[in-house]
Amino acid sequence: MPALRARGLVYATGGRRLVDGVDLDIAAGQCTVILGPNGAGKSLLLRLLHGLIRPSAGRVTRAGGREAMVFQRPVMLRRSVRSNLRFALGVAGFTGAARRARIDEGLQLAGLAALARRPARLLSGGEQQRLAMARALVTDPAVLFLDEPSASLDPAATLAVESLVRAARARGVTVVLVTHDAGQARRLGDRAVFLQAGRVAEAGPAAELLNAPRSAPAQAWLDGRLYVPRDTEYRDGRKD
């Protein structure tokens, strides 16, 4: 039984099918990376899987358990770093000493112990990203959605985030990770899904998809080319 199963998932708005018939199984306890160019619908797919938006058609069935998401642009509550963790834990039902212990654990995870009392909105972009990550992890989710969690991080912080993902994965957390970083996808992914214009262009074991992509969009993406559908493909600025 997969952690999440999407069937015929469509999200349409303004006459455009932004997510266009996605069938997908997210394997429990594994890390699935979602790849694809800007505007492919990766963030929308994540929202659909997490249940934040309702599909226009199709459905998502889930094995259950707590889910948490780190957004592409993290939302910081207008309070201290510590209170951000405290709030998430309170909502998830943690109180008293257990909550205090987890807050400290979260501060350690994020490497923000020294900034615990700082208003979260005064943190740098990277620090906010790490806090958002810790805030999601301290509640012990069964499924963790990460939308480009290291997009604004320096190499050291990126490694820190990746080790957090690995640690979560080792604890059996199902991870769904959107990334533009092929290296990161190789390092973390068990399975990979390549999205192009709202459709799954290719899905399979991460190593296979990343080393020997079969679909034209995934090949183009890995070569660093702009993929344009066949009849209008450009190379070197000239039309074939």
Partner: protein, 235 residues
């Protein structure tokens, strides 16, 4: 007829030596206004936050109504409360007309829509920012309202100050339901109106100076709150 300078001098004298009549009037004004603002916050903060935090049928009309009620004419509120509390009115048996309680009721009615409407605005903006995060965390309704009120605390203090400013300077409603009775319901604004017409310009002007001072104080407090909010990145 004394010159303005002379009257002002005597007025300042009244303030400087804590003239008992002046102190009594200012004290009642503050008691009535602060109680009204507290009650208005008790009702208006949750009402505004709920309207800002949730989508429910009738939310928009309610928001429009609250905005419209912000501009309630005080004399109309005064008249309505008067009719309710007068001997032949439905609440006549309570014998509240011409008491400080009647003034508190009238001012609470005036200030509650201000607090509610501004709170709705503030919390709705904040909810726009938090909506997805809260949906992801599955934040319950009570936690949601609580978090919005807490995270908007700086703006909401300014809202309460605005309510105070409006209530303390208001004259129409408290005059109608309070009656400006000496030692019972005389507040700053009604006294200014009465003492001016009686020619007791020193007391009127002294009260005017105090009122002006309060307005300055309220604005200084609002500014301080804004600055602390900016320092806490709570804007």
């Amino acid at each position: 007829m004394q010159g303005f300078g002379g009257v002002l001098g005597e007025a300042v004298g009244l303030i400087a030596r804590w003239d008992p009549a002046l102190v009594e009037i200012v004290g009642l004004s503050l008691r009535v206004t602060l109680t009204s603002v507290a009650l208005a916050c008790l009702i208006g903060l949750p009402l505004g936050a709920v309207t800002g935090a949730f989508r429910f049928p009738g939310r928009l009309p309610l928001a429009v109504l609250l905005n419209a009620l912000m501009g309630l004419p005080p004399v109309v509120v005064g008249l309505t409360v008067y009719l309710l509390l007068s001997a032949s009115g439905p609440l006549g048996p309570l014998r509240l007309l011409y008491t400080p309680t009647a003034m508190i009721v009238a001012q609470t009615i005036l200030v509650t829509p201000i607090v509610a409407a501004l709170t709705r605005q503030v919390t709705e903006d904040l909810m726009g920012e938090y909506a997805e995060q809260f949906a992801s965390m599955q934040v319950g309704p009570l936690d949601r309202v609580g978090a919005l009120l807490w995270d908007a605390r700086f703006a909401l203090i300014t809202v309460a100050l605005a309510g105070f400013g409006r209530a303390v300077a208001e004259v129409g409603a408290v005059l109608i339901v309070g009656g400006n009775i000496n030692h019972v319901t005389r507040v700053m604004t009604t006294s200014i109106a009465l003492e001016t017409s009686k020619g007791n310009l020193q007391l009127a002007l002294a009260l005017g100076v105090v009122l002006l001072g309060l307005a300055l104080l309220v604005n200084a407090l609002a500014m301080t709150v804004r600055l602390s909010a900016a320092r806490a990145a709570n804007v």
